[in-house]
Symmetry: C2
Subunit: 198 residues, 2 copies
Amino acid sequence: MTGSLIQFFQQTLPLTEEKAMQIAAAFQPVSLQKGTYFVKKGQVSNRYLFLETGCMRAYAMDTSGTEVTTELYLPQQVVFEVASFFKKVPAAENYQALEDCTGQYITFDDLQTLFHAVPEFRELGRMILVNGFIAFKQRTLALISDTAEQRYEQLLATRPALLQHVPLKYIASYLGITDTSLSRIRKEMAQKHSKAAQ
Amino acid sequence: MTGSLIQFFQQTLPLTEEKAMQIAAAFQPVSLQKGTYFVKKGQVSNRYLFLETGCMRAYAMDTSGTEVTTELYLPQQVVFEVASFFKKVPAAENYQALEDCTGQYITFDDLQTLFHAVPEFRELGRMILVNGFIAFKQRTLALISDTAEQRYEQLLATRPALLQHVPLKYIASYLGITDTSLSRIRKEMAQKHSKAAQ
DNA sequence: GTGTCCGCTTAGCAAATGGCAAGAAACGAT
DNA sequence: ATCGTTTCTTGCCATTTGCTAAGCGGACAC
Protein backbone atom coordinates (compact mmCIF):
# COMPACT_ATOMS: atom_id res chain seq x y z
CA MET A 1 0.00 0.00 0.00
CA THR A 2 1.43 3.33 -1.08
CA GLY A 3 -1.67 5.38 -0.33
CA SER A 4 -0.11 7.37 2.49
CA LEU A 5 2.92 8.09 0.32
CA ILE A 6 0.74 9.51 -2.45
CA GLN A 7 -1.17 11.57 0.08
CA PHE A 8 2.09 12.91 1.53
CA PHE A 9 3.33 13.96 -1.91
CA GLN A 10 0.12 15.75 -2.72
CA GLN A 11 0.06 17.69 0.50
CA THR A 12 3.71 18.67 0.13
CA LEU A 13 3.22 20.04 -3.38
CA PRO A 14 0.14 20.26 -5.60
CA LEU A 15 0.40 17.32 -7.98
CA THR A 16 -2.01 15.32 -10.09
CA GLU A 17 -2.86 11.95 -8.63
CA GLU A 18 -1.43 10.35 -11.75
CA LYS A 19 1.97 11.96 -11.25
CA ALA A 20 1.92 11.20 -7.54
CA MET A 21 1.19 7.56 -8.28
CA GLN A 22 3.91 7.42 -10.90
CA ILE A 23 6.43 8.73 -8.39
CA ALA A 24 5.21 6.47 -5.59
CA ALA A 25 5.58 3.44 -7.88
CA ALA A 26 9.36 3.93 -7.84
CA PHE A 27 9.46 3.33 -4.09
CA GLN A 28 9.91 -0.10 -2.53
CA PRO A 29 8.51 -1.45 0.73
CA VAL A 30 10.83 -2.05 3.65
CA SER A 31 10.45 -3.04 7.27
CA LEU A 32 12.80 -2.47 10.18
CA GLN A 33 12.79 -4.40 13.42
CA LYS A 34 12.86 -2.48 16.66
CA GLY A 35 16.43 -1.60 17.60
CA THR A 36 17.90 -2.11 14.13
CA TYR A 37 19.57 0.61 12.11
CA PHE A 38 18.42 2.29 8.92
CA VAL A 39 21.70 4.21 8.67
CA LYS A 40 24.88 3.35 10.52
CA LYS A 41 27.41 6.03 11.35
CA GLY A 42 30.52 5.79 9.20
CA GLN A 43 28.76 4.02 6.35
CA VAL A 44 27.39 5.58 3.19
CA SER A 45 23.61 5.39 2.95
CA ASN A 46 21.91 5.69 -0.41
CA ARG A 47 18.36 5.21 0.87
CA TYR A 48 15.60 7.77 1.21
CA LEU A 49 12.78 6.48 3.39
CA PHE A 50 9.14 7.42 3.81
CA LEU A 51 8.10 6.10 7.22
CA GLU A 52 4.59 4.64 7.35
CA THR A 53 4.41 2.92 10.74
CA GLY A 54 6.63 2.88 13.82
CA CYS A 55 9.04 5.54 15.00
CA MET A 56 12.73 6.27 14.67
CA ARG A 57 15.46 8.46 16.03
CA ALA A 58 18.66 9.92 14.63
CA TYR A 59 21.56 10.42 16.98
CA ALA A 60 25.14 11.62 16.85
CA MET A 61 28.01 11.31 19.29
CA ASP A 62 29.24 14.57 20.75
CA THR A 63 32.91 15.29 21.43
CA SER A 64 32.80 13.56 24.81
CA GLY A 65 31.16 10.43 23.41
CA THR A 66 27.61 11.08 24.61
CA GLU A 67 24.70 10.24 22.34
CA VAL A 68 22.73 13.28 21.20
CA THR A 69 19.33 12.63 19.65
CA THR A 70 19.17 14.98 16.68
CA GLU A 71 15.81 14.02 15.22
CA LEU A 72 12.73 11.99 16.06
CA TYR A 73 10.51 10.55 13.36
CA LEU A 74 6.87 9.51 13.31
CA PRO A 75 4.83 8.08 10.43
CA GLN A 76 4.33 10.30 7.35
CA GLN A 77 7.84 11.69 7.61
CA VAL A 78 10.80 11.35 5.30
CA VAL A 79 13.94 9.87 6.86
CA PHE A 80 17.41 10.09 5.36
CA GLU A 81 20.89 11.29 6.21
CA VAL A 82 21.24 14.37 4.04
CA ALA A 83 25.04 14.45 3.83
CA SER A 84 25.49 10.76 3.14
CA PHE A 85 22.62 10.50 0.68
CA PHE A 86 23.48 13.50 -1.49
CA LYS A 87 27.26 13.64 -1.14
CA LYS A 88 28.05 9.93 -0.77
CA VAL A 89 30.13 10.53 2.34
CA PRO A 90 30.09 8.38 5.49
CA ALA A 91 27.09 9.18 7.67
CA ALA A 92 27.76 11.31 10.74
CA GLU A 93 24.76 9.90 12.57
CA ASN A 94 22.95 6.68 13.34
CA TYR A 95 19.30 6.24 12.41
CA GLN A 96 17.61 3.63 14.55
CA ALA A 97 14.12 2.11 14.71
CA LEU A 98 12.63 2.69 18.16
CA GLU A 99 9.74 0.38 17.31
CA ASP A 100 9.07 -2.11 14.56
CA CYS A 101 8.75 0.08 11.46
CA THR A 102 7.47 -0.15 7.92
CA GLY A 103 7.85 2.28 5.05
CA GLN A 104 8.75 2.85 1.44
CA TYR A 105 12.22 3.74 0.24
CA ILE A 106 14.02 4.74 -2.91
CA THR A 107 17.74 4.62 -3.67
CA PHE A 108 19.77 7.61 -4.79
CA ASP A 109 20.18 6.28 -8.31
CA ASP A 110 16.48 5.59 -8.71
CA LEU A 111 15.74 9.03 -7.32
CA GLN A 112 18.10 10.62 -9.85
CA THR A 113 16.46 8.69 -12.66
CA LEU A 114 13.08 9.85 -11.48
CA PHE A 115 14.35 13.44 -11.24
CA HIS A 116 15.31 13.36 -14.90
CA ALA A 117 12.16 11.60 -16.05
CA VAL A 118 9.58 13.51 -14.02
CA PRO A 119 10.10 17.27 -13.70
CA GLU A 120 7.39 17.47 -11.03
CA PHE A 121 9.43 15.18 -8.84
CA ARG A 122 12.34 17.58 -8.96
CA GLU A 123 10.15 20.23 -7.39
CA LEU A 124 8.77 17.75 -4.90
CA GLY A 125 12.20 16.53 -3.83
CA ARG A 126 13.40 20.08 -3.45
CA MET A 127 10.35 21.01 -1.41
CA ILE A 128 10.88 18.10 0.98
CA LEU A 129 14.49 19.21 1.45
CA VAL A 130 13.47 22.84 1.90
CA ASN A 131 10.81 21.95 4.44
CA GLY A 132 13.34 19.95 6.40
CA PHE A 133 15.75 22.85 6.33
CA ILE A 134 13.10 25.31 7.50
CA ALA A 135 12.08 23.02 10.37
CA PHE A 136 15.71 22.72 11.40
CA LYS A 137 16.20 26.48 11.40
CA GLN A 138 13.17 26.93 13.63
CA ARG A 139 14.46 24.33 16.01
CA THR A 140 17.88 25.98 16.20
CA LEU A 141 16.24 29.33 16.89
CA ALA A 142 14.26 27.74 19.73
CA LEU A 143 17.43 26.23 21.17
CA ILE A 144 18.97 29.69 21.34
CA SER A 145 16.06 31.76 22.45
CA ASP A 146 13.59 29.57 24.36
CA THR A 147 13.97 27.94 27.74
CA ALA A 148 14.02 24.16 28.00
CA GLU A 149 10.51 24.30 29.48
CA GLN A 150 9.23 26.31 26.51
CA ARG A 151 10.81 23.86 24.11
CA TYR A 152 9.19 20.95 25.89
CA GLU A 153 5.80 22.67 25.90
CA GLN A 154 6.22 23.38 22.20
CA LEU A 155 6.94 19.71 21.55
CA LEU A 156 3.90 18.71 23.59
CA ALA A 157 1.77 21.10 21.56
CA THR A 158 3.03 20.18 18.10
CA ARG A 159 4.02 16.50 18.32
CA PRO A 160 2.24 14.99 21.33
CA ALA A 161 2.38 11.52 19.77
CA LEU A 162 6.12 11.45 20.37
CA LEU A 163 5.50 11.21 24.11
CA GLN A 164 3.57 8.00 23.60
CA HIS A 165 6.31 6.29 21.64
CA VAL A 166 9.70 7.69 22.57
CA PRO A 167 11.46 7.19 25.93
CA LEU A 168 11.88 10.47 27.80
CA LYS A 169 15.65 10.21 27.77
CA TYR A 170 15.67 10.54 23.99
CA ILE A 171 13.20 13.39 24.10
CA ALA A 172 15.38 15.16 26.67
CA SER A 173 18.41 14.74 24.45
CA TYR A 174 16.44 16.01 21.45
CA LEU A 175 15.46 19.10 23.48
CA GLY A 176 19.11 19.70 24.33
CA ILE A 177 18.87 18.83 28.02
CA THR A 178 19.53 15.79 30.25
CA ASP A 179 16.86 13.36 31.32
CA THR A 180 17.31 14.71 34.85
CA SER A 181 16.43 18.23 33.78
CA LEU A 182 13.45 17.08 31.76
CA SER A 183 12.18 15.19 34.78
CA ARG A 184 12.44 18.36 36.89
CA ILE A 185 10.63 20.37 34.24
CA ARG A 186 7.83 17.83 34.05
CA LYS A 187 7.48 17.91 37.81
CA GLU A 188 7.28 21.71 37.89
CA MET A 189 4.71 21.75 35.10
CA ALA A 190 2.60 19.19 36.94
CA GLN A 191 2.71 21.35 40.08
CA LYS A 192 1.69 24.44 38.13
CA HIS A 193 -1.21 22.57 36.62
CA SER A 194 -2.47 21.24 39.91
CA LYS A 195 -2.28 24.74 41.39
CA ALA A 196 -4.09 26.20 38.39
CA ALA A 197 -6.82 23.58 38.80
CA GLN A 198 -7.52 24.55 42.39
CA MET B 1 33.62 40.53 -12.62
CA THR B 2 32.13 37.11 -12.03
CA GLY B 3 35.42 35.30 -11.53
CA SER B 4 34.84 34.48 -7.88
CA LEU B 5 31.35 33.22 -8.69
CA ILE B 6 32.69 30.81 -11.30
CA GLN B 7 35.38 29.67 -8.88
CA PHE B 8 32.78 29.09 -6.19
CA PHE B 9 30.64 26.97 -8.51
CA GLN B 10 33.56 24.85 -9.55
CA GLN B 11 34.66 24.15 -6.02
CA THR B 12 31.12 23.29 -4.94
CA LEU B 13 30.65 20.77 -7.73
CA PRO B 14 32.95 19.60 -10.54
CA LEU B 15 31.86 21.55 -13.61
CA THR B 16 33.43 22.57 -16.90
CA GLU B 17 34.50 26.19 -17.02
CA GLU B 18 32.13 26.69 -19.93
CA LYS B 19 29.12 25.53 -17.92
CA ALA B 20 30.21 27.54 -14.90
CA MET B 21 30.48 30.66 -17.05
CA GLN B 22 27.12 30.01 -18.63
CA ILE B 23 25.52 29.79 -15.20
CA ALA B 24 27.37 32.82 -13.85
CA ALA B 25 26.17 34.88 -16.81
CA ALA B 26 22.60 34.65 -15.52
CA PHE B 27 23.56 36.51 -12.36
CA GLN B 28 23.40 40.28 -12.03
CA PRO B 29 25.63 42.59 -10.00
CA VAL B 30 24.23 44.30 -6.93
CA SER B 31 25.59 46.46 -4.15
CA LEU B 32 24.20 47.05 -0.67
CA GLN B 33 25.06 49.97 1.56
CA LYS B 34 26.02 49.29 5.13
CA GLY B 35 22.94 48.99 7.32
CA THR B 36 20.49 48.34 4.48
CA TYR B 37 18.47 45.17 4.11
CA PHE B 38 18.74 42.45 1.51
CA VAL B 39 15.63 40.72 2.92
CA LYS B 40 13.08 42.35 5.19
CA LYS B 41 11.07 40.26 7.60
CA GLY B 42 7.45 39.91 6.49
CA GLN B 43 8.20 40.47 2.82
CA VAL B 44 8.69 37.86 0.13
CA SER B 45 12.21 37.76 -1.24
CA ASN B 46 12.88 36.24 -4.64
CA ARG B 47 16.60 36.94 -4.70
CA TYR B 48 19.49 34.51 -4.30
CA LEU B 49 22.75 36.32 -3.64
CA PHE B 50 26.39 35.39 -3.98
CA LEU B 51 28.31 37.75 -1.71
CA GLU B 52 31.61 38.98 -3.12
CA THR B 53 32.68 41.76 -0.75
CA GLY B 54 31.45 42.98 2.64
CA CYS B 55 29.64 41.02 5.31
CA MET B 56 26.04 40.40 6.34
CA ARG B 57 23.97 38.95 9.11
CA ALA B 58 20.59 37.25 9.31
CA TYR B 59 18.52 37.77 12.43
CA ALA B 60 15.13 36.80 13.78
CA MET B 61 13.09 38.07 16.69
CA ASP B 62 12.52 35.60 19.49
CA THR B 63 9.25 35.35 21.42
CA SER B 64 10.26 38.13 23.82
CA GLY B 65 11.25 40.49 21.00
CA THR B 66 15.01 40.09 21.24
CA GLU B 67 17.08 39.94 18.08
CA VAL B 68 18.80 36.59 17.53
CA THR B 69 21.54 36.49 14.92
CA THR B 70 20.96 33.26 13.04
CA GLU B 71 23.69 33.48 10.41
CA LEU B 72 26.77 35.51 9.57
CA TYR B 73 28.03 35.82 6.01
CA LEU B 74 31.43 36.59 4.56
CA PRO B 75 32.47 36.83 0.89
CA GLN B 76 32.17 33.67 -1.24
CA GLN B 77 28.96 32.62 0.50
CA VAL B 78 25.44 32.32 -0.82
CA VAL B 79 22.84 34.40 0.98
CA PHE B 80 19.08 33.87 0.74
CA GLU B 81 16.07 33.21 2.93
CA VAL B 82 15.27 29.59 2.15
CA ALA B 83 11.60 29.64 3.09
CA SER B 84 10.77 32.89 1.33
CA PHE B 85 12.75 32.14 -1.78
CA PHE B 86 11.48 28.63 -2.42
CA LYS B 87 7.99 28.82 -0.96
CA LYS B 88 7.16 32.46 -1.69
CA VAL B 89 6.10 33.07 1.88
CA PRO B 90 6.92 36.18 3.95
CA ALA B 91 10.46 36.02 5.30
CA ALA B 92 10.83 35.10 8.97
CA GLU B 93 14.15 36.90 9.25
CA ASN B 94 15.94 40.09 8.29
CA TYR B 95 19.12 39.99 6.24
CA GLN B 96 21.21 43.09 6.74
CA ALA B 97 24.51 44.39 5.35
CA LEU B 98 26.96 44.96 8.19
CA GLU B 99 29.34 46.68 5.79
CA ASP B 100 29.04 48.02 2.27
CA CYS B 101 28.58 44.89 0.18
CA THR B 102 28.77 43.81 -3.43
CA GLY B 103 27.73 40.57 -5.05
CA GLN B 104 25.82 38.82 -7.81
CA TYR B 105 22.22 37.77 -7.56
CA ILE B 106 19.63 35.82 -9.50
CA THR B 107 15.86 35.87 -9.14
CA PHE B 108 13.74 32.78 -8.49
CA ASP B 109 12.26 32.84 -11.99
CA ASP B 110 15.65 33.15 -13.65
CA LEU B 111 16.94 30.37 -11.42
CA GLN B 112 14.04 28.13 -12.44
CA THR B 113 14.67 28.87 -16.10
CA LEU B 114 18.31 28.01 -15.62
CA PHE B 115 17.36 24.81 -13.78
CA HIS B 116 15.38 23.65 -16.78
CA ALA B 117 17.96 24.74 -19.34
CA VAL B 118 21.12 23.54 -17.62
CA PRO B 119 20.91 20.15 -15.88
CA GLU B 120 24.29 20.73 -14.23
CA PHE B 121 22.85 23.76 -12.47
CA ARG B 122 20.17 21.62 -10.88
CA GLU B 123 22.86 19.57 -9.21
CA LEU B 124 24.77 22.68 -8.26
CA GLY B 125 21.75 24.37 -6.73
CA ARG B 126 20.91 21.24 -4.81
CA MET B 127 24.46 20.90 -3.56
CA ILE B 128 24.49 24.48 -2.28
CA LEU B 129 21.25 23.81 -0.42
CA VAL B 130 22.53 20.50 0.94
CA ASN B 131 25.78 22.09 2.12
CA GLY B 132 23.81 24.77 3.92
CA PHE B 133 21.65 22.14 5.56
CA ILE B 134 24.66 20.11 6.69
CA ALA B 135 26.34 23.19 8.15
CA PHE B 136 23.15 24.02 10.03
CA LYS B 137 22.91 20.52 11.47
CA GLN B 138 26.47 20.70 12.72
CA ARG B 139 25.78 24.03 14.33
CA THR B 140 22.67 22.72 16.07
CA LEU B 141 24.62 19.75 17.38
CA ALA B 142 27.26 22.11 18.77
CA LEU B 143 24.56 24.19 20.46
CA ILE B 144 23.33 21.08 22.27
CA SER B 145 26.56 19.38 23.13
CA ASP B 146 29.36 21.95 23.34
CA THR B 147 29.90 24.68 25.90
CA ALA B 148 29.72 28.31 24.83
CA GLU B 149 33.51 28.52 25.15
CA GLN B 150 33.98 25.54 22.83
CA ARG B 151 31.62 27.07 20.28
CA TYR B 152 33.53 30.35 20.38
CA GLU B 153 36.86 28.57 19.99
CA GLN B 154 35.43 26.64 17.07
CA LEU B 155 34.35 29.88 15.43
CA LEU B 156 37.78 31.37 16.00
CA ALA B 157 39.38 28.33 14.39
CA THR B 158 37.10 28.06 11.38
CA ARG B 159 36.02 31.61 10.60
CA PRO B 160 38.49 34.00 12.23
CA ALA B 161 37.71 36.71 9.68
CA LEU B 162 34.31 37.17 11.29
CA LEU B 163 35.98 38.67 14.37
CA GLN B 164 37.48 41.41 12.23
CA HIS B 165 34.20 42.45 10.69
CA VAL B 166 31.30 41.61 13.00
CA PRO B 167 30.56 43.33 16.35
CA LEU B 168 30.88 40.92 19.27
CA LYS B 169 27.27 41.33 20.26
CA TYR B 170 26.18 39.73 16.99
CA ILE B 171 28.73 36.97 17.37
CA ALA B 172 27.50 36.31 20.90
CA SER B 173 23.94 36.09 19.67
CA TYR B 174 25.02 33.76 16.86
CA LEU B 175 26.72 31.54 19.45
CA GLY B 176 23.53 31.44 21.50
CA ILE B 177 24.78 33.52 24.42
CA THR B 178 24.64 37.14 25.58
CA ASP B 179 27.34 39.67 24.88
CA THR B 180 28.03 39.65 28.63
CA SER B 181 28.79 35.95 28.63
CA LEU B 182 30.97 36.19 25.54
CA SER B 183 32.95 38.96 27.18
CA ARG B 184 33.52 36.76 30.24
CA ILE B 185 34.59 33.85 28.04
CA ARG B 186 37.05 36.03 26.16
CA LYS B 187 38.48 37.25 29.44
CA GLU B 188 38.93 33.71 30.77
CA MET B 189 40.55 32.57 27.53
CA ALA B 190 42.96 35.52 27.65
CA GLN B 191 43.90 34.61 31.24
CA LYS B 192 44.48 30.99 30.29
CA HIS B 193 46.72 32.08 27.44
CA SER B 194 48.82 34.41 29.55
CA LYS B 195 49.27 31.67 32.15
CA ALA B 196 50.20 29.17 29.47
CA ALA B 197 52.79 31.59 28.12
CA GLN B 198 54.57 31.91 31.46
C1' DG C 1 8.87 -15.93 43.23
C1' DT C 2 13.34 -13.72 42.48
C1' DG C 3 16.69 -11.30 40.21
C1' DT C 4 17.83 -8.12 36.62
C1' DC C 5 17.41 -4.58 33.39
C1' DC C 6 15.30 -0.36 32.03
C1' DG C 7 12.89 3.92 32.46
C1' DC C 8 11.99 7.56 35.33
C1' DT C 9 12.42 10.41 39.38
C1' DT C 10 14.74 12.66 43.19
C1' DA C 11 18.44 14.90 45.98
C1' DG C 12 22.61 17.71 46.81
C1' DC C 13 26.07 20.30 45.07
C1' DA C 14 28.85 22.65 41.38
C1' DA C 15 29.21 25.13 37.15
C1' DA C 16 27.45 27.91 33.41
C1' DT C 17 24.73 31.52 32.02
C1' DG C 18 21.41 35.39 32.24
C1' DG C 19 19.57 40.02 33.90
C1' DC C 20 20.61 44.33 35.28
C1' DA C 21 23.24 48.25 35.76
C1' DA C 22 27.31 50.95 35.61
C1' DG C 23 31.46 52.34 33.59
C1' DA C 24 35.19 52.46 29.99
C1' DA C 25 36.49 52.64 25.35
C1' DA C 26 35.85 53.25 20.48
C1' DC C 27 33.55 55.46 16.81
C1' DG C 28 30.95 59.00 14.14
C1' DA C 29 28.81 63.18 13.06
C1' DT C 30 28.94 67.92 13.37
C1' DA D 1 37.65 69.04 19.25
C1' DT D 2 33.41 67.76 21.21
C1' DC D 3 29.30 65.53 21.94
C1' DG D 4 26.60 61.56 21.59
C1' DT D 5 26.02 56.87 20.30
C1' DT D 6 27.48 52.34 20.11
C1' DT D 7 30.37 48.67 21.67
C1' DC D 8 32.58 46.18 25.09
C1' DT D 9 33.66 45.02 29.81
C1' DT D 10 32.75 44.27 34.69
C1' DG D 11 30.37 43.18 39.11
C1' DC D 12 26.62 41.30 41.70
C1' DC D 13 23.10 38.08 42.29
C1' DA D 14 19.46 34.79 40.67
C1' DT D 15 18.30 31.00 37.84
C1' DT D 16 19.01 27.18 35.03
C1' DT D 17 21.21 23.18 34.09
C1' DG D 18 24.62 19.48 34.66
C1' DC D 19 26.85 15.78 37.30
C1' DT D 20 26.73 12.00 40.30
C1' DA D 21 24.45 8.86 42.81
C1' DA D 22 20.62 6.71 44.75
C1' DG D 23 15.98 4.86 44.78
C1' DC D 24 11.61 3.15 42.92
C1' DG D 25 8.56 0.59 40.01
C1' DG D 26 7.42 -2.19 36.01
C1' DA D 27 8.60 -5.72 32.49
C1' DC D 28 10.59 -9.90 31.61
C1' DA D 29 13.31 -14.15 31.90
C1' DC D 30 14.26 -18.01 34.56
